[in-house]
């Protein structure tokens, strides 16, 4: 009887950890899918689309997760295959330089103008 409970407990533990790992994989898969653009759809992510392209990309993401790829490695793999455009969150590079720098620049210039006005008013 003790043996039975021991094996039952082991089986329960195994199932629990398996379910937990599957759930983690699904969370990661969904997170990545939401950040990948469906290249043949109009303004949809891979997560939202049911096109052949999106379904295949989801399968590839699944495969890569099972092969042990982490999130960044999967993004890099897809970027290597399809270019920067496939990512919703563009990285910092020469093509996205203006996109990243301009808001900071505008913020600094605006801040400087406001600061200058305040200083002049105080004087």
């Amino acid at each position: 009887m003790k043996k039975f409970f021991f094996y039952f407990f082991l089986l329960f533990l195994f199932n629990f950890s398996l379910a937990h790992s599957i759930e983690n994989k699904n969370i990661l898969k969904n997170k990545i899918s939401k950040n990948i653009r469906c290249l043949i759809c109009q303004g949809q992510s891979i997560y939202d689309s049911q096109s052949d392209f999106a379904v295949s990309i989801k399968l590839v993401i699944d495969k890569k997760i099972n092969e042990g790829f982490n999130e960044d490695e999967i993004y890099n793999y897809l970027k290597d295959q399809y270019g920067q455009w496939i990512l919703y969150d563009p990285g910092f590079n020469e093509k996205t330089l203006v996109l990243w720098i301009l808001p900071i620049l505008l913020f600094l210039v605006g801040g400087a103008i406001i600061l200058k006005k305040i200083v002049i008013k105080k004087l």
Binding site: L39, I40, Q42, D52, F53, V55, S56, I57, L59, V60, K63, Q81, Y82, G83, W85
Partner: protein
């Protein structure tokens, strides 16, 4: 003086905005894929269409100067349209035609090949579409010209046209 600087700044700002909007107007909403050429094809395993056995890409890319990969399916109307062009291409001795049957019904695909002729030296069965994605495909049909070093020389998205065929012939010379 301050007003002049402000005017110049505003002028530059509006020119910048105009330039951005002008460029956007000329672009269509539909995405035009940025075709990546010069990439070396990685090794892959796939299912052979007729035997349904696993085959490695090293067994396929041997002894030829050029390889033409065509991704097709029976449910794809443009694929049917371009099939005679593939039959024509298969007559070229400098190139080996490799077909990738994409997300298809194997029985229907075999019937299709039996009916319209088989231009391919090897056909790979891509049931889930993973192989096509690993090759960097967007939609079907797609055709890639690959050299002996497995370098992608050219990609054609959509059914092959007569102009495409002429270009391929000039590459294969």
């Amino acid at each position: 003086m301050r007003n002049k600087i402000l005017l110049i700044f505003l002028f530059i700002f509006f020119v910048f905005c105009f330039f951005i909007f002008y460029k956007s107007i000329n672009n269509t909403n539909s995405y035009k894929p940025n075709i990546k050429l010069g990439k070396i094809l990685k090794n892959f395993d796939a299912i052979e269409f007729f035997s349904e056995n696993e085959i490695n890409s090293n067994e396929i890319f041997v002894d030829n100067k050029y390889y033409i990969i065509n991704i097709w399916a029976t449910w794809c109307a443009p694929c049917r349209k371009e099939h005679p062009k593939l039959i024509e291409l298969s007559k070229k001795k400098s190139a080996k035609l490799i077909g990738i049957n994409y997300k298809d019904n194997l029985k229907k695909a075999k019937k299709f090949i039996g009916e319209f002729g088989n231009p391919f030296s090897v056909i790979l069965f891509d049931k889930k579409g993973i192989l096509a994605i690993e090759l960097g495909a967007y939609a079907i049909p797609e055709t890639y010209i690959i050299d002996e070093n497995k370098k992608i020389l050219k990609k054609y998205l959509g059914a092959l046209t007569n102009d495409n065929l002429k270009e391929i012939n000039s590459i294969l010379k």
